[in-house]
């Protein structure tokens, strides 16, 4: 049996664990480098599970989560990152838009 990387009840989300990125710049880079189909697959899988995911994560201290919970939490932040692409733009980012890499995170 392979080693689980997400909490037991959320192993169905493991194909998307590549979105578990800790920094805003990393998450936005993955969004820009993904196709809208890849982003939608992540979004449509995560969305119906979010209620359960956040209810589960809320049981743990925000600054000291177990490793698997931290990974799942980082996936929720990545979901926030891709939400505009799916819900508003229908593409990773709009045409002619400013390069997000030039928005340099200062406090995060």
């Amino acid at each position: 049996m392979t080693q689980r990387i997400l909490p037991e009840i959320f192993t169905d989300l493991e194909p998307y664990a590549g979105w578990a990125l800790t920094k805003e710049a990393e998450r936005s880079r993955k969004r820009q480098q993904s196709t809208i189909e890849e982003i939608r697959a992540f979004y449509t899988t995560m969305l119906p599970r979010m209620e359960a995911v956040l209810t589960h994560l809320n049981q743990f201290p925000l600054d000291a989560m177990p490793e698997k919970e931290q990974r799942l939490f980082d996936m929720t932040l990545a979901l926030a990152e891709v939400a505009p692409a799916v819900e508003l733009f229908g593409k990773p980012s709009e045409d002619d838009v400013f390069d997000v890499a030039r928005f340099v995170p200062e406090h995060e």
């Binding site: 925000l62 929720t76 926030a80 505009p84 508003l88 400013f98 928005f103 406090h107 995060e108």
Partner: protein, 432 residues
């Protein structure tokens, strides 16, 4: 084919739940005549020259930025004695170090060594007990006094007491640290902020400032072009038709008209409408359920001080307080954000954006903040591209003036206040 303006919601969710109410005529209370209240502003087109002229830029440096209180950061950036941050102010060709002493006092100094004027601290922020120059090891205490000079006996008639760092005036208002490059300003910070401070009395800045997300953008545009974009809402239904399809507009107020505008001597305020029938996206619903810090979704007016949303409109979304010359505070219900525009060159600006929240206690609250933060950033990406595009053709000579409409009165006021201080046209007229 429908005009592109109305083709909202091309995304996967297709915004199917968004309002499809029939269009009703704009209600009279969204159609106020602001210019009639400020006849001294006139209604003429506004010249473009101040947005491209190096001569104008030099006057802005000498007559504005060297002579006003400038916001440089928040006290949360200085949690303990020895905490410091460095704030470069390129238009004034200086760098400032802001440091909290062991006595708790916040002080600011030119970040310049007294020996041979090397830039003293090169990092952006940190903590130290003494500030030591890399060049020859001169060291200064947190109070700016020169404390150690290597090989001191080889200097001539030397008195360490006369060679401390050059102080700049420093005052704090609601946790915002301001400096003034004149060490003896003619007015206190409170006097300078005047109506802005009155209006924001009681707003819970301390409570809302424990978490901060910020970005820095090196923008190829004049600082006033950048700031102008945040002083009018006329662009929202066009520029942000994808990102904000129904948050600040509705059939009742399709062009995002303000319902409050107040222009003071230097500063200004506006109150913006929020659509109570805004239809949240699926993930926004999750963010609202698990956190309270997503913009524009709560209407607990009684929790706001009287100077915020002074019109007490139920459909209120936010107030903007524009602090002359370059600091803007956007006050919402449960969060606030700031913009600051630091001129670097006539066509280049350091733009700093921060969004502030109460510290998240749970993963759900932190997720909710991230949702709001990413949406804000994606909205600002739309603004940023236009600002640079504008600057790229501004010097073409194709146009000499801006044409401004009723709802762009804050832009008109901003340009007038800058000119009041700079006097570029006043002096040109006097010469003729």
């Amino acid at each position: 084919m429908l005009p592109r303006l109305w083709k909202i919601g091309s995304g996967f969710i297709a915004n199917t739940k968004r309002s499809t109410k029939t269009c009703t005529p704009m209600s009279a209370d969204f159609n106020q005549r602001w210019h009639a209240s400020y006849p001294e502003l006139g209604t003429d087109p506004v010249p473009i020259e101040p947005l491209i002229s190096p001569a104008y830029f030099a006057l802005e440096r000498d007559r504005i930025f060297r002579r006003v209180w400038l916001q440089v950061g928040r006290i949360e950036q200085l949690p303990e004695g020895g905490s410091y941050f460095v704030k470069d102010i390129p238009i004034c060709q200086t760098s400032i170090v802001v440091v909290r002493g062991k006595d708790g006092q916040v002080r600011a100094f030119h970040n310049v060594c007294s020996h041979r004027s090397n830039k003293l601290l090169w990092g952006r922020r940190g903590s130290c007990q003494v500030m030591t120059c890399k060049f020859h090891g001169w060291s200064y205490g947190l109070d700016g006094k020169l404390s150690f000079v290597p090989d001191e006996e080889n200097f001539f008639h030397f008195d360490k007491g006369r060679h401390g760092l050059t102080p700049v005036a420093t005052e704090i208002w609601n946790g915002f640290i301001f400096i003034h490059l004149n060490p003896h300003p003619q007015e206190t910070l409170r006097e300078y902020l005047a109506e802005v401070a009155d209006g924001l009395t009681g707003y819970p800045f301390a409570q809302l400032s424990t978490t901060r997300f910020s970005w820095r953008i090196d923008l190829r545009a004049n600082w006033k072009i950048a700031q102008d974009a945040f002083q009018e809402s006329y662009h929202l239904p066009f520029m942000h038709k994808q990102s904000l399809p129904d948050s600040y507009t509705s059939p009742k107020n399709p062009f995002c008209h303000y319902f409050g505008v107040k222009l003071w001597t230097h500063h200004r305020r506006s109150s913006s409408y929020g659509n109570p029938d805004h239809c949240p996206s699926p993930l926004e619903i999750v963010a609202q359920r698990f956190g309270s810090s997503v913009v524009n979704r709560t209407f607990a007016m009684e929790d706001l001080p009287p100077g915020v949303n002074p019109e007490r409109r139920r459909e209120w979304a936010l107030d903007t307080f524009m602090v002359f010359p370059n600091f803007n505070i956007f006050v919402l219900n449960g969060t606030y954000l700031t913009h600051q525009f630091w001129p670097i060159a006539p066509d280049r600006t350091l733009w700093e954006v921060s969004t502030y929240f109460p510290a998240a206690q749970t993963a759900g609250q932190r997720f909710s903040q991230e949702y709001g933060k990413v949406l804000l950033r994606d909205v600002l990406l739309e603004d940023a591209s236009t600002l640079e595009a504008t600057q790229s053709v501004l010097a073409s000579g194709a146009k000499t003036h801006y044409v401004l409409q009723e709802q762009e009165i804050l832009v008109r006021h901003a340009h007038k206040v800058v000119e009041d201080w700079v006097g570029f046209y006043r002096e040109r007229e006097n010469r003729q």
